[in-house]
Homo-oligomer: 222 residues x 2
DNA sequence: AAATGTTTTAATCAAATGTTTGAATATGCC
DNA sequence: GGCATATTCAAACATTTGATTAAAACATTT
């Protein structure tokens, strides 16, 4: 059974199209046409419908992302200083987004789309996976600030870091036109990860100093 | 003429729906229903179709954004140091994205959607407005680095800054669930702008030092 | 009040879309 | 070979969608 691998072809074609055009702008006819002209019925036969095919892909995104994050985390645990851990976290995130092949790039784009416009299914996996993972990373960020850093400072620092990491992916269609000289991400993602690390570490330290000063002033005044 | 303001109602309803669900997931029936139950024909009558209504909205986005950027730029020119100019640029961008009312927030969301998935019309305005504007900002960023900073460093610095600024907007649907304690943007955008400024200035200086060291080492070795 | 131009309404069209059906074909197994 | 299962196919179905039409309602002017 399963000689010609139609299911896989449908799956791959769908990943590509959903990445390019999003869920509602993609038609099942498009998908089947791209999958070496598979029959229109294939989507329903193998996946039970367009929505379920999409959810199936989202599961792959979550599984793949979780797997890579797990790997990054294991490497992080081997490192001693929180600085090295942060560097590894950024590197791991960048690799997850930009370090795979074309297929991974498409999954990443679907992930980014969901970040901006989540489906109920995606929100569920966020609740299950992203939220607890975020807690861990926030602990790491807290270590890099100062003893007694405000929750707000921790949250902001993490947001600024993640914002830098994800920006290239979500804005790429426009970014690559505004900066046509920018090389493709798969060539520079690791170098860029280092850049973000240096940039963010300095930024966090500056914010730490500022908040501590502000706290001291407040204390003096009282 | 124009007694009950149906055209405006249609326009407002369309902005809201396009912001929430995007272009292809929004139907003209949705729009008319939300516009106080206007007749189905209204969209075609007043705007000539769904696509043209959308382009009309994009024009508003571009005009409004351009207007605000212009205002921010005029204020920037009054300032002396490049540091103050950068601070003002960030503040202006944040105000543009988060500092209006609900309507502005919806326009912003449409803008972010286009950033991730641009329509031809949007790419055209990018080519006409965003590209030259970006050139100016890059000059500003260059001043804040060091004499002879590489083009790559300038570009990366700007990207990291813009990434932080736009992150909240595009990831808000998920972000607000991962960080439920985060207050709404319209309450904190100005404070956050200052945070991004401090963070980024320190980051840029760290990157400057690193690149200069690297250049010096390269020079020594030769 | 008649005429005119504008806005609103309801009904309808053709194309597109997700899904279903039932027959045809291929495949694996005894 | 023959049976059972799995897959593929073309056709059709029921909705949905954006667009069109023509007439009614309304306001404004003459």
């Amino acid at each position: 059974m399963e000689a010609s691998g139609t299911k896989e072809k449908i799956f791959m074609a769908a990943v590509g199209l959903f990445a390019e055009k999003g869920f509602s702008a993609t038609t099942v006819r498009d998908i089947c046409r791209r999958a070496e002209g598979s029959n229109l019925n294939a989507v329903n036969y193998y996946f039970g419908g367009k929505r379920q095919l999409y959810n199936n892909i989202l599961e792959t995104v979550a599984a793949e992302g979780g797997r890579r994050m797990q790997a990054a985390k294991m490497q992080m645990d081997l490192l001693r200083t929180p600085e090295e851990k942060l560097r590894r976290f950024i590197l791991g995130y960048m690799r997850m987004l930009y370090g795979g092949g074309e297929f991974s790039e498409q999954l990443c784009r679907i992930y980014i789309r969901e970040l901006a416009d989540p489906s109920p299914f995606f929100l569920e996996t966020v609740q299950r996976h992203t939220v607890p993972q975020t807690q861990e990373i926030m602990e790491l960020v807290r270590e890099l600030l100062y003893e007694g850093a405000s929750e707000e400072l921790v949250r902001n620092s993490l947001s600024l870091i993640v914002g830098q990491i994800t920006y290239y992916s979500f804005s790429w269609p426009v970014y690559s036109r505004v900066h046509p000289e920018q090389p493709r991400m798969d060539f520079v993602w690791d170098k860029l990860a280092e850049t973000i690390y240096v940039f963010s570490l300095a930024g966090m330290r500056a914010l730490s100093v500022k908040e501590q000063n502000s706290n001291a002033n407040r204390g003096n005044r009282q």
